[in-house]
């Protein structure tokens, strides 16, 4: 019994890490620009399928291909921000709606490009399928790796945002574009950087996740919803909040699945979500207009 509980706690915590990995890019982009990137899930899928091709043609494992996928999608994200989002009136009162529509359109473009390149079958990569034995508790390797990388990314991004000049400039843009611009910051460039970074995080997350969760090109929208639920629960744009929310969701999911069955688990997650939003409408650690 004790072993089972311990196993469930560990599994819940590391699945939390996996959910965090899914949501980090979306969180950064929202935090900096108040843009909900609806193509986020499709970036994840694209990154994953890219890793699949690298694996199948060159035998490159996801551990090597995730930075490659990240870099490629970094460039693509920069292009999207520069070519599309900057040009649709970010300063106007209906900016959120406009960016929502633009990224919604983008999600179709990315998903259908993936479809043309890879078809529609579920794909996955056989990588790190064993487990590490901790006494009687088995910890799946791929899960552990995804979580570790998710936590590392969370810490690095947090330090970057709070302790470096560039990161502080990005936060300044988040607080007030006008204020940042009047202090001489190049806010267009900073927004391009933030969107590209967020996209890259989605892409490299995909390259790791595909070893754990099979994707098809249509999976993108589902991943976007999952990621958005998580960051809304944590407090949109808040990094500590996203971490807490991810761990909470991981634990709730694993425990309800074990105790009450898998159907109850999917329902309970949204009940928790609604409960938090009713008591704390800004999410667990949400504040207004802050990163």
């Amino acid at each position: 019994m004790l072993t089972t509980v311990a196993t469930l706690v560990i599994l819940g915590l590391i699945w939390g890490g996996v959910y965090l990995l899914m949501a980090e890019g979306l969180n950064l982009i929202y935090g900096v620009m108040k843009v909900v990137n609806l193509a986020h899930g499709d970036f994840i899928v694209f990154g994953g399928l890219l890793a699949l091709t690298l694996f199948e043609t060159f035998g490159v494992s996801p551990a090597v291909s995730f930075p490659i996928a990240g870099l490629l999608i970094f460039a693509f994200g920069a292009l999207v921000q520069f070519g599309v989002i900057e040009r649709i009136g970010l300063g106007r009162p209906d900016a959120e709606l406009r960016t929502l529509l633009a990224t919604f359109g983008l999600s179709y473009v990315v998903a259908n490009t993936s479809f043309l390149l890879w078809g529609s079958q579920f794909q996955s990569i056989p990588f790190l399928q064993g487990s590490i034995q901790l006494g009687t508790i088995a910890i799946p390797e791929a899960l552990l790796m995804c979580s570790a990388i998710a936590f590392a990314i969370a810490i690095v991004v947090h330090i970057w945002l709070t302790h470096t000049m560039l990161g502080k400039s990005v936060r300044a843009v988040a607080q007030s574009g006008l204020g940042a611009a009047s202090c001489g910051l190049d806010i267009v460039w900073l927004r391009i950087l933030a969107f590209a970074l967020g996209s890259a995080m989605a892409g490299s997350a995909g390259a790791l996740l595909i070893a754990l969760i099979p994707f098809q090109t249509a999976s993108g929208s589902e991943l976007t919803v999952q990621a958005f639920t998580l960051i809304a629960l944590g407090g949109l744009g808040n990094y500590g909040g996203a971490f807490l929310a991810a761990e909470l969701l991981g634990l709730v999911e694993v425990f309800t699945q074990y105790l009450y069955g898998s159907n109850a688990a999917s329902a309970l997650i949204y009940l928790v979500f609604i409960g938090v939003l009713v008591c704390r409408p800004r999410g667990l650690l949400g504040r207004v207009g802050r990163v």
Binding site: L8, L11, P126, G130, P214, Q257, Y258, S262
Partner: protein, 412 residues
């Protein structure tokens, strides 16, 4: 004569013109053959001598298109072969096809168009139970017989008499797996079921068959189709210590369960899944973890069924691909349709339906036979096992390409 045309206006007028021409030629030939003076010849309308139009909408784009395009290939190969051997009732067949994009509402509109606008003579079915169910009322109201590629049985139980089931019943998919487990003396089963329509019906079939064979279901649980984390579910199933773990699954969840079972080192004598192992991506995604896992299929290219060697060769020649079970059931469906029409000798839909339910025919898929409502009774299913990176047919024994490897040797 071109037998596959997209229905465009330009093409249609061309067809009419050619139809008129061939009507004259046919009439002339008939007169010559009979040696009757022209004045006594019965009037031959273009309607009766032009090509027989067979209409269908099937998913050619979007996420559900890969299996559907195999079905289309199967249909087209069968129509090709029928045309080469002289067509039906002395007329060539012409396919009129549209793309439903996997959307039931679009499929309904397209079948309405096929019936009222294109005025097709015969209908073939779209891909998947959901789409067949969507178009069923339209097709049935028009009193057109439609041999249907849908596994769930609810459309073939008297509600839509013009629908004919040309595919194995869902509940029979896992029968050979249970059969094999019983033959090996296994006693207990755990069933993991995705809570969508097709897997639910699969699970029902598994339970009935298990009962019949004297196996006990010691664990059964359903999960949502969006589930990605199966670790707790698998742990719980393993606590019931089943001999056999069966998943009523599709591909992604089957892979998720195998991953979770391997990483939690869950042991059972046999692991089997409905849809999943039949797809090549199952092994591609899991690698050696897929070894000795069982799956099912409705058809296999090595089957010694009637005409299968020729079918596989013709399919490879035309498409440079091996036929899948989707291709085979579609091919067999069209072939049986053709044979039924030949026996009836006309396109009278009521006579065709009456002949269909009397038909007992050997096809590449197996024995084709229906009950009075049009439900498929003849077709069965086969057990596959992944061995050394290959799919092998292992049960029933008479059709097996090799012996099954049992019990599961444990995760490496």
């Amino acid at each position: 004569m071109l037998d596959l045309v997209e229905p465009k206006d330009a093409v249609r007028s061309d067809v009419t013109r050619r139809a008129g021409l061939s009507a004259c030629v046919a009439a002339g030939l008939a007169l010559l053959a009979l040696g009757v003076p022209a004045v006594f010849a019965p009037p031959v309308s273009a309607q009766d001598t032009g090509p027989i139009k067979i209409g269908l909408a099937i998913t050619q784009t979007g996420p559900f298109s890969p299996p559907a395009s195999y079905e289309l290939r199967g249909y087209e190969l069968a129509v090709d072969q029928i045309n080469k051997s002289g067509g039906l009732l002395g007329r060539q067949l012409q396919i009129v096809k549209y793309d439903d994009q996997g959307n039931p509402a679009t499929a309904v509109q397209l079948y309405q168009k096929l019936l009222t606008d294109d005025r097709v003579d015969l209908l073939l079915s779209p891909y998947q139970t959901d789409l067949v169910g969507a178009v069923a009322p339209v097709v049935n109201r028009a009193k057109k017989v439609m041999p249907s590629l849908a596994a769930n049985v609810e459309h073939f139980e008297g509600k839509y008499p013009y629908l004919i089931q040309s595919m194995t019943q869902t509940s029979r998919y896992m029968a050979p797996i249970i059969d094999l487990a019983a033959a090996k003396g296994y006693k207990t089963i755990a069933i993991l079921v995705q809570n969508t329509q097709f897997p639910q019906q699969l699970a029902q079939g598994i339970e009935e068959k298990a009962k019949e064979k004297g196996l006990t279901v010691v664990f059964k649980e359903t999960y949502a189709p969006t589930t990605t984390d199966f670790s707790a579910l698998v742990l719980k199933a393993s606590e019931a210590k089943p001999d056999v773990i069966i998943g009523a699954t599709y591909l992604a969840d089957a892979q998720g369960i195998v991953r979770a079972a391997k990483s939690q080192n869950v042991q059972a004598k046999m692991f089997a899944f409905s849809i999943g192992p039949v797809e090549p991506e199952f092994y591609k995604g899991l690698g050696t973890a897929a070894e000795t896992v069982f799956g099912t299929t409705l058809y296999f290219k090595t089957l010694k069924t009637k005409g299968n060697v020729e079918f596989v060769a013709a399919f490879r020649e035309k498409y440079n691909l091996d036929p899948t079970y989707h291709a085979a059931v579609a091919y067999a469906s069209m072939k049986v349709f053709g044979d039924v029409i030949k026996k009836v000798g006309s396109l009278d839909q009521d006579k065709i339906r009456a002949e269909f339910v009397k038909t007992a025919e050997e096809t590449v898929v197996g024995h084709y036979e229906l009950d009075q409502n049009g439900k498929q009774l003849g077709y069965g299913s086969y057990a596959l096992q992944w061995l050394n990176g290959q799919q092998e047919l292992v049960w029933p024994k008479a059709d097996a390409t090799t012996d099954p490897v049992l019990p599961h040797p444990g995760w490496k």
